[in-house]
């Protein structure tokens, strides 16, 4: 067997979706069969290649020093050295990105299976957009050059805009436009922030580099040129504009429920599963290492915003009548957990937070997939229109209950591993913080834990209403009263039962998610050990800055108490 180097595999995984998209356009015959087959083969190949790369990734950052922490690094001059503008085509993976990269490939494969029979309109366009989206998602996580990152970042926007706008539900135009404008506005500001970083570095070193690792190293506390606090704050604000909308952090989330409800199933899955993680990833990749002192300065506020999102998202989810909206708000709540973990800045919390971001992709991805399957059958998202589906579709009920358990953090499944670690880490941060700030952090920690109770409430309520109790189905199910993408399937064969349980294809779309849900839940160590070194490196400066602030504050309090200390002040240090 031929042995491929990880570099080549990574490049192939980026190129394959584009090749597939091209093939679909070339061989388009207007019918779905050919387009979806090509898409399936392409995503499967991409998944295999990406999975191979991800599992070659070394644990505990072994042997990555020579490449600056990157695995499978390809670094080539891209735009040439136009007047010293050293923009490079630099792709590689590190602990921060490797699981998101793999997750993109996994979910895309599931999405093709999921869309198999629900997309009749312009199938070739649909699948080629899906593949382009896949390329964009994997690229943005692999990019190690700011311009390349930004190109991929914006590139993910366009296919999804069309996916929502063309194949979405009744309000699709409004939703797509809102999604597009909202995120574009934010990301333009982010771009400004990134350019500022490049220019600041240029003014110090005279090197007009766009390389992310070089910039973080140069502007980090050890690089010798950390930016002053006020500049850091500006940059933090600019970067946050784009990433906070992506996450989305409360109160910038209103585009999300709309986009989720209107998007086709595949769009929702990828939106929740991968695209929201761009925000989390952006914070970890850029905000924390580039503006550590600003992060420390803003830390209590950021934690409050995160926990507000947890509680607010959960409560609003409780009041929803639309299934997809409910899950969209649950995403707001779950992403609040991820951000809380990241901002808590203890090793346990950041690892838990990032793991939780991956977990959310799997469990909410699965939930949206099931919502899509329900919509395929009943053409409704209304909770009150449905009931007792467990009787009609036991396999679907089984998977629904399973993904619900995963989502509410049932031990043994993935959600618990992430939640427990990040909450323990947050707890540690709160209880190790002395002085007046400590009480606020303690309140945050306790509120965050209570979010776990609320999470179980709305999800179990949804399951109870839709899947348990006496059977209730909308009138005219399967008789063509549905919306634009009605299920022609049942009309052709009226002798078949109107609503069937999951097909093998649909089970095939869900099983890969379930496997990883179990794996992460039973042995999170495998996944954590690959993330840990890069995360540590990214968050360490901010954690140190917070610690320094704490020490200074303690010293100030000491001085305020004894204006003339006779002995040198020994500040309490607790890492």
């Amino acid at each position: 067997m031929m042995e491929f180097s990880p570099q080549h595999l990574l490049l192939w995984s980026l190129a394959l979706p584009l090749i597939g998209a091209g093939l679909i356009c070339l061989l388009n015959d207007g019918r779905p069969q050919r387009a979806r087959t090509i898409a399936l083969v392409t995503t499967l190949l991409t998944l295999l290649v990406a999975g191979r790369v991800a599992f070659m990734f070394p644990a505990n950052g072994i042997n990555l020093e020579s490449t600056g922490g990157a695995f499978a690094l390809t670094d080539a001059s891209w735009l040439g050295k136009i007047s010293g503008l050293d923009v490079r085509f630099s792709v590689g993976l590190d602990g921060l990105s490797v699981w998101f990269y793999a997750l993109s490939a996994l979910l895309s494969f599931c999405c093709v299976l999921l869309s198999w029979e629900s997309i009749h309109e312009r199938p070739a366009t649909f699948y080629s957009l899906l593949l382009m989206l896949l390329c964009g998602m994997m690229g943005v996580f692999a990019a190690r050059d700011i311009l390349l990152f930004y190109v991929f970042f914006e590139f993910t926007l366009i296919p999804l805009y069309f996916l929502i706008g063309i194949w979405g539900h009744e309000d699709r135009n409004y939703a797509a436009t809102k999604f597009f404008l909202f995120t574009l506005t934010g990301s333009v500001l982010t771009f400004l922030g990134l350019l500022t970083v490049v220019l600041v570095n240029f003014s110090h070193t005279g090197d007009l580099t766009f390389s992310i690792p070089k910039l973080t190293a140069a502007l980090g506390p050890v690089g010798g040129h950390p930016m002053p606090l006020h500049l850091q704050l500006w940059i933090f604000a600019a970067l946050t504009a784009g990433f906070a909308i992506k996450v989305p952090l409360f109160p910038l989330h209103t585009w999300l429920p709309l986009a989720h409800t209107q998007a086709p199933a595949a769009g929702s899955v990828l939106l929740a599963g991968v695209l929201l993680k761009l925000g989390t990833y952006g914070f970890a990749r850029f905000n924390l290492p580039l503006a550590p002192e600003a992060t420390a300065w803003l830390l209590p506020a950021l934690l409050w915003i995160s926990v507000a999102g947890i509680i607010y998202g959960a409560l609003v989810a409780l009041a929803q009548t639309d299934m997809k909206r409910l899950i969209a708000y649950s995403s707001v709540s779950h992403l609040g957990f991820c951000m809380l973990g990241l901002f808590a800045l203890t090793p346990l919390a950041v690892q838990g937070g990032m793991l939780q971001a991956v977990n959310h992709g799997l469990s909410t991805g699965g939930l949206f997939a099931i919502m899509g399957m329900i919509h395929d059958r009943y053409h409704t998202r209304e909770i009150s229109a449905l009931g007792g589906l467990a009787r009609r579709t036991p396999w679907m009920a089984l998977f629904m209950v399973f993904f619900t358990f995963s989502s509410i953090g049932l031990p043994g499944l993935n959600g618990f591993a992430g939640e427990f670690l990040l909450l323990a880490g947050m707890f540690q941060r709160a209880w190790m913080t002395t002085g007046p700030g400590g009480l606020g952090l303690k309140v945050i920690a306790v509120l965050a834990v209570s979010g776990v109770v609320l999470g179980a409430w709305y999800m179990l309520w949804l399951v109870q209403r839709v899947f348990f109790g006496p059977l209730r189905e909308p009138h005219g199910t399967g008789h063509g009263h549905g919306s634009h993408d009605e299920l022609g399937h049942d009309l052709k064969q009226p002798d078949r039962p109107l609503v069937r349980d999951l097909s093998l294809r649909e089970i095939g779309a869900l099983v890969p998610l379930a496997v990883f849900i179990f794996w992460i839940g039973l042995c999170p160590q495998f996944f954590l050990s690959r993330m840990a070194p890069a995360l540590q490196e990214a968050t360490q400066p901010a954690a140190a800055a917070w610690q320094a602030r704490q020490t200074n504050e303690a010293a100030d309090r000491q001085t305020a108490l004894n204006p003339r200390p006779s002995v040198p002040v020994v500040a309490e240090t607790s890492p």
Binding site: A390, G412, L421, M432, F468, Q525, S529
Partner: protein, 697 residues
């Protein structure tokens, strides 16, 4: 030298592995291959598991005796299966960990890791729990073969039961707070699935959700407690572990700490940790004020009520508190709260049980009440009380499972009817059920010499002793334990009364059944477990009471050894306590006979006379209503208001900002008047955009 503990290690892995295997086999083969034989893997698996658990008990017994002379605290074996997480250097070594490490002659490192291993270990406490859990589950599984016969989802039931037994055995085997929490929630999940087993019934689905959520509230406290333990003691392991950097990290319940009670953090922190753990225990063991889920859980199939909601899962809270005895030992205040919660729960639940008409709900409230007794025993903080609590846990498991299965047998005969107002006088049609039920009632009421008498008497004695004991570090101007003693006596009276009220209503009096039902004795698969359980309910109390095996064996558990060493032998005779409780119980039974045998007119007059009390009891002290009014309702309203805020205020603001450019244009427009060509240009662009939009969509 061959490892003397190798046997134990093999056995303790087998105990949970067999039920898990059975559950998986049933789930895979059940729906297609096994169908109506789907019970075989689980019955077989549980039977083998019970045998293995008894062998394990014998092994542990042998070793704990052999090892007693060199070290009472010797651990009896660990098995580490795999590493769940191992994150180095996450926590600055807290003072409590540093102190204990210095005690063990190791230099504390600057940072501690977050290492969680999936480690199983066994000690007398665990071995006792394992034997009880697997044995009762085995009997219940046999019973379910008859009870669930012909159910649409026969295999699903047995798969769930297998999964539950796996989780429950793991719960008592694991050696780490995180994993304890894992299986704590896992049994909760099984309970959720089994309560909602007949998911088409809206009440069943709602009850399942309620059980899960109330338990989640308890788990919220439990999780906070675990976090506090972690940052206080620097580890979540029970056992001492070797750090990868060298040196020994003392576990929370490990040999090093157990050897020296001063290594447990005292004061407010200890109280906080214990109270948070208690919140978790209250959720799982249905103690006031988190007891509301258990009566509703009776919507599940009756074998489930017997197994999960009477015999095994609900005792997890008791197990956890016994396991954490050293932690509670550092806080007499917390122990007092445990006792108060227990006493209060015992009394309130008994009051409610007196007027209920649903046989299974009466039994549910009696379970809550009896668990309250156990908590009361643990709350004394003495070896006598803890041992009495565990003793009651064991006897209760047998007689309560018996009573529930008896009630199930009645339901089976009457086609699902369980309301005591609809039937009576079943003794002739169902003799086996009647007689075994009577034995269960005698045990529950605590009549000499049935099981409940011995264990309840011990708890009463322990409380009585505690009321008159002097405990270091504890002062109270109010005689709490004295009061609790009288509460417990009062509860004993109520227990006897409501138990025999139920028995007389169901089995005595004129024969009366619902029109559609054809009462008959249940099949052998159901009556056999009844008979076996009845034998245990009758005899296990006296068996364990005779000789001091139970106490001394339990005292070999690491968590209890230190406490046991402090206490000087068994307490003196408590004859007056036994006499008092017996008198009270006989009065209760007599009153029940007076009111419910024969005419039954006096009771209506009494109910009229005590109208407010009757209403309060009948309406279950309005717990559900109060929760709905104070918590669920307001949260629902808040949720609704927030969803309005989200839609109109926050999103409105966003849209407002989105319109800003348009308005800006409107403001700027007057500056542009007169330039026709610019209008034309604007129009052309506008048309193009419109066309573009139309074409695209």
């Amino acid at each position: 030298m061959s490892d003397p503990l190798a046997n134990i290690r093999t056995l303790l892995v087998l105990v949970p592995a067999l039920p898990l295997l059975a559950a998986v086999v049933t789930a895979v083969l059940g729906p297609r291959v096994l169908k109506s034989r789907a019970h075989w893997p689980v019955v077989l698996g549980l039977g083998l598991s019970a045998i293995v658990a008894l062998m394990l008990l014998a092994e542990v017994n042998r070793h704990s005796r052999n090892m007693a002379h060199d070290s009472k605290l010797a651990a009896t074996g660990h098995v580490t299966l795999w590493r769940w997480t191992g994150i180095p250097d996450v926590l600055a070594t807290p003072p409590a960990a540093a102190a204990a490490m210095e005690k063990a002659h190791t230099t504390p490192p600057r940072m501690l890791p977050f290492d969680v291993d999936v480690t199983l270990r066994v000690d007398p406490l665990t071995a006792l729990m394992l034997s009880m859990v697997t044995f009762v589950s085995f009997l219940v599984a046999i019973y379910a073969v008859g009870y669930m016969h012909g159910d649409r989802s026969y295999w699903r039931f047995f798969a769930y039961v297998g999964l539950f037994v796996f989780s429950m055995t793991m719960l008592v085997l694991v050696s780490n707070f995180l994993l304890l929490y894992v299986f704590w929630e896992a049994v909760g999940m099984c309970s959720y699935l089994l309560i909602g087993f007949w998911y088409q019934k809206p009440e069943a689905a709602a009850a399942g959700k309620k059980a899960f959520l109330v338990n989640r509230v308890g788990d919220f406290g439990f999780a906070l407690g675990i976090f506090l333990i972690w940052i206080t003691y620097g580890t979540l392991n029970f056992h001492d572990t070797t750090l990868s950097s060298g040196g020994v990290l003392p576990g929370v319940l490990g040999q090093i700490r157990l050897g020296d009670a001063s290594l447990y953090v005292p004061g407010g922190l200890a109280t906080a940790i214990c109270l948070l753990l208690l919140v978790g225990a209250c959720g799982k063991s249905a103690q006031f004020p988190l007891h509301v889920w258990l009566p509703d859980a009776m919507e599940g199939p009756t074998p489930v009520s017997a197994l999960i909601h009477a015999a095994t899962m609900v005792t997890a809270g008791v197990y956890m508190i016994v396991r954490c005895t050293p932690l509670f030992g550092a806080s007499p205040q917390a122990q007092q709260v445990v006792a108060i919660i227990g006493g209060l729960t015992a009394l309130l639940a008994a009051i409610i049980a007196v007027t209920q008409t649903d046989l299974k709900r009466i039994l549910a409230y009696s379970t809550i009440s009896q668990l309250g007794y156990m908590f009361l025993g643990l709350g004394t903080g003495s070896m006598l009380g803890i041992s009495a609590g565990m003793f009651h846990l064991l006897t209760h498991a047998f007689f309560k499972a018996l009573l529930f299965l008896g009630a199930g047998s009645v339901m089976h005969a009457l086609g699902g009817v369980i309301d005591l107002r609809q039937f009576s006088g079943l003794r002739r049609k169902m003799p086996v059920t009647c007689w075994t039920f009577l034995i269960g009632c005698l045990a529950l009421a605590g009549v000499l010499p049935f099981a409940g008498f011995w264990s309840k008497d011990r708890i009463l004695a322990a409380v009585h002793e505690r009321a008159h004991a002097v405990v270091a570090g504890y002062h109270s101007s109010f005689p709490v334990y004295e009061w609790l003693y009288w509460v417990a006596i009062g509860t004993a009276f109520l227990t006897a009364f409501y138990t025999f009220r139920a028995f007389f209503l169901a089995f005595c009096g004129p024969e009366r059944v619902p029109a559609a039902a054809h009462p008959h004795e249940s099949p052998n698969t159901m009556t056999l477990p009844l008979a076996i359980l009845a034998a245990f309910a009758a005899g296990i109390g006296l068996t364990l009471e005779a000789g001091s095996w139970f106490d001394s064996f339990l005292a070999e558990s690491p968590s209890l050894a230190a406490l046991a060493a402090h206490e000087t032998g068994p307490a003196g005779s408590h004859l007056h306590v036994a006499v008092l409780s017996t008198v009270v119980v006989l009065i209760g039974i007599g009153l029940a006979a007076f009111f419910y045998l024969g005419e039954r007119t006096q009771i209506d007059r009494l109910a009229m006379w005590l109208r407010p009390v009757y209403e309060a009891s009948h309406r279950k002290l309005w717990f559900d209503e109060v929760y709905d009014l104070l918590i669920v309702g307001p949260l629902r309203i808040l949720a609704y208001l927030l969803s309005l805020v989200d839609r109109f205020l926050i999103d409105g603001l966003v849209n407002l900002i989105g319109r800003l450019p348009v308005w800006l244009g409107a403001v700027l427009r007057p500056t542009q008047n007169g330039l026709l060509q610019s209008y034309a240009l604007a129009m052309a662009i506008g048309v193009l955009v419109l066309l573009g939009t139309l074409v695209l969509f």
